[in-house]
Symmetry: C2
Subunit: 291 residues, 2 copies
């Protein structure tokens, strides 16, 4: 679905994929974390190996491991990215970029990630007009596709649609929550789950994995609404920990220990691949290089 990218920035994607894989030693893990298909990861590594003329990984039946060449190349990759980062870090002139950048963010992202992300951007480029829009995560990707937003800060699904590229900025746990001062409905429901979106999907997977579906009491739209219902005692809710910690009703909420814990939940930046060549988008994107 995606086409070839561009030179300077895209070459680094190969190095990043390699470095992540060199650490995880797990194609699937890296594929998920870096939001590329397993096929792309496999072929990216194959391309590297072909161009270098060496195998970088030993694929044993019992997992993969770095070859000697792989370790050597890892050192190169680290240094190359550091060099690039050093170049990008020396911000040259603060006020040379102008224009408008439309950012779409979930409410959660607004409260948590966005300040850390946009503060340095604003410092570097004070002339840029920032438009900020909010909504749920599902809408974020649609807005990007439609061109109504330039960047999105939201939960990122492992597989991004079409021409979008994402970068995970942080990972938060999903936690099960109940009202603190009400009888505990427990881990068998009833549940209060988001109507749709990544959290809902993760919650469904968790429920399925446990084998005991449990009743769904309400399906509110939005995390804050969900927490409000939970605080009212409607049932057991599932939210990202990050949301809970920034919620206005967190004092009335208790976290239930769960085993197995629901899978972690990546939150990050997402842009249209083709937009990486726009100076404004590239500038913001490059700010996240070290995350």
């Amino acid at each position: 679905m995606k086409g070839p990218g561009h030179r300077v920035l895209d070459d680094q994607r190969g190095l990043r994929l390699f470095l992540h894989l060199a650490q995880s030693l797990n194609f699937g893990r890296t594929s998920l974390d870096c939001h590329v298909s397993p096929a792309t990861l496999t072929r990216t590594v194959q391309r590297l190996e072909t161009e270098l003329g060496h195998r970088l990984f030993d694929r044993g039946p019992r997992g993969v491991s770095l070859t000697a060449e792989g370790r050597r190349f890892r050192e190169y990759a680290v240094q190359a990215l550091e060099l690039w980062q050093a170049y990008r870090d020396e911000r040259p002139d603060p006020a040379d970029l102008t224009g408008r950048l439309t950012v779409f963010a979930t409410v959660t992202a607004c409260q948590t990630l966005l300040p850390d992300l946009l503060a340095p951007f604003r410092t570097a480029h004070p002339q840029v007009r920032l438009d900020l829009r909010t909504g749920d995560a599902a809408a974020a990707l649609a807005r990007l596709d439609e061109g109504e937003a330039d960047v999105a800060v939201a939960g990122i699904p492992a597989r991004l649609p079409g021409p979008l590229v994402g970068r995970t900025l942080t990972v938060t746990d999903l936690v099960l929550v109940t009202a603190r001062d009400r009888p505990d409905p427990g881990l068998d429901g009833p549940f209060v789950l988001p109507q749709r979106g990544l959290v809902r999907e993760a919650a469904d997977r968790w429920l399925r994995a446990r084998g005991r579906p449990g009743a769904v009491a309400c399906e509110p739209d939005g995390h804050e609404a969900l927490l409000a219902l939970v605080a009212l005692g409607c049932g057991t809710g599932v939210v990202p920990r990050l949301v809970l910690e920034h919620s206005a009703v967190r004092d009335r909420i208790a976290v239930l220990p769960a085993d197995p814990a629901p899978e972690p939940f990546p939150i990050g930046l997402c842009v249209r691949r083709s937009d990486l060549r726009r100076p404004l988008v590239a500038a913001l994107w490059s700010l996240t290089a070290h995350w």
Copy 2:
């Protein structure tokens, strides 16, 4: 005619083009020397500038000059290439590449460039079987296209056909020569010129530029044949200085000073772009990185 290349090696092409342009400050010069079309050079620079968000060159009516950002990026580019070169220079295992590599070279190249080029390759990869074929420069590119050779070492035209990429390894002057012990036919002919090929084209351009065509006495096939005819007193010849210096009959040849001097003559390495991903070809290609 060419498609996009591949990551690691191809990204460096952009940096190399940039560095050459940063030194020459002349799009046409760099375009010729690096064997890319002016359009490609322009757009490569434009791409860099877009991705970086800065102009790298000031295009004044009186030529181009580096901007402050351009100078900064030049430092990065130099370091990035040095880093890559350092990685490639540490040859890991000497004997890890095997197979066969068919090299096509002109006679001149065999005598001059080839030893310097192939000696380190052979040291690094003794297991590789080298097939060496000789012929004239025009045939070299045809052989490459037909797949009958993997690499060519020959004079390289400024514009390479189709899917070939070249890298200039050295530049030699064209010199005008006569028999030392015969009456000097002088700069107005008759001339002894190669029947075809790059030298003939350059000689024709030189003749046209002087405005006095002069007669063509013989059109031998091959530089050695040409020098033999010149030594026999058939007329004034045009050959690359490199050929003259390695000729068996050089003692019987005298060089005529010419003004303006014929244009210099680039000799280099040429491969199919798509072959850069073949380990053997890539290994040889990377050996020329610092030339």
